[in-house]
């Protein structure tokens, strides 16, 4: 965002989410909304990540935990179905992986440079129950 001089912005401690008027915002998908430069939606934090979450839909039960817990609204869900991750706004915090309840997890952290295809090939198998208990005791 351009750093304007003291006379180069609107008054008040106020920022506009959109340039100009907008209608039916609740029924417009985020990627279709004309967010303004002052909206954090237009800023990418992709380069903040060391690790990234990858998604394996074979194990996903669409519980929406990851969508609920993501602090940056970077879980893309449509009609209550998890469809992927918004890598422009994901900081790689790993909370989605932490809260994923499936066995094995449907979201796992990988190095930033890891390609999705090989990650899916290497995805861990279901862990036995006693292992689960051990995890539960941590």
């Amino acid at each position: 965002m351009e750093k304007a001089g003291w006379d180069g912005f609107e008054i008040g401690a106020m920022l506009r989410t959109f340039d100009g008027a907008i209608q039916n915002i609740a029924t417009t998908l985020p990627e279709d909304r004309a967010y303004s430069q002052s909206s954090s939606f237009t800023a990418s934090v992709a380069d903040w990540r060391i690790e990234k979450p990858l998604f394996n839909k074979d194990y996903c039960i669409d519980c929406q935990f990851c969508w609920v817990f993501c602090p940056d609204m970077s879980i893309i869900s449509r009609d209550k179905k998890m469809i992927g991750i918004d890598f422009d706004h994901c900081k790689g915090c790993g909370i989605c992986v932490e809260v994923c309840p499936t066995n094995p997890k449907s979201l796992l952290m990988f190095p930033e440079q890891k390609d999705e295809e090989s990650a899916l090939v290497e995805w861990p198998k279901k862990v036995k129950k006693e292992k689960e208990d051990e995890v539960g005791e941590e």
Partner: protein
Amino acid sequence: MADTMELRDIEVWDGNMAAAQALRQVQVDVVAAYPITPSTPIVEGYATYKANGYVDGEFVMVESEHAAMSGCIGAAAAGGRVATATSSQGFALMVETLYSASGMRLPIILNVVNRAIGAPLNVNGDHSDMYMGRDSGWIQLDAYNPQHAYDLNFIAFKVAEDHDVRLPAMVHQDGFMTSHTAQGVHTLTDEAAYGFVGEFQPMNDMLDLDHPVTHGVQTEEDWHFEHKARQQHALMTAVIPKIEAAFAEFEKLSGRKYNLVETHQMEDAEMAVICMGTSVETAMEVVDELRAQGIKAGVVGIRVFRPWPLEQLAEVLKNVKAIGTLDRSSPHGTVGMLYNEIAGTLFNCDTKAVLNNYIYGLGGRDLTKAHVVGIFNDLKANVDAGKLTTPLQQYIGLRGPKLSFF
């Protein structure tokens, strides 16, 4: 639609009633309030008018003055005409949020019924709370009697809500000496009063769902300075012309003339006192009596306290030879505020007036006409000597040994 109220041309109202009626007449949308003596009857009055159908609005009861101003900020950001009232310790508790209101450029009107700040606890009038607000970024207007408390509310709404201004404004009146003193108040009809201020024009309101905005954003080193500069620019350049225009329009409507700086017998005055609130009028009466004795005394009253009318004050004071600044607030470690401001105002001028300072009237202590005569006696001695003949800062109306500093 609210009922109109038939008022007599002159109503005998105290300052609180006058302010409450003004809030009704401009049809304030939201009052969030935590009542405190001596300002209580203002918000109580608004609540009564609302309950009886004389105003369409909301009265929000909150748990503190901090919450009261926070509620006002929320309502103003949402896009309503908003006002409240407070005094003293309540004002002190509001201070944090006052800076938010001005920084967010929200045109809230705060009626401050000036009262001492404890300890010791005291409900009576002095200017401690008014002085506390002077760096908060608000416009500050000062009433000397109930008529002014009524009129200045209309001025405050009109100026504050102007889209070139969008700054909150305080209307000050002296606790008890104005707020609880009934005098004749020339009224405006409901229609004329509302017409003068006009319908509220929202700006960047949160309830405009087609234009979503975020209010109260965070800035750090990268933006804060520019925001504060912009705020100061509006306060310094936009407000004075708008106040002058509002004063002129109000004079056309009511016949009552207000000035940024009020003067009395200043044309040929060789000495002047400068003060605020009810003291201005008491001093005017003293000056009339001194004039009858051939003494060239004058009075300067601060009407617009913030923004400070520096140029106008320098102009009215350019020919006087002695000036007494009267501060009704304990200066706590320095000279009084008016001494400082006037010294700063005159420093780069050719004026060579002798300047001194009086601390008076704390906690509601009476300022008598005899006190004011005594001050002019000091000033006359300073005029004749061409230098200070008294200590720089003197306490007047105080029991015990004479107290002075510098």
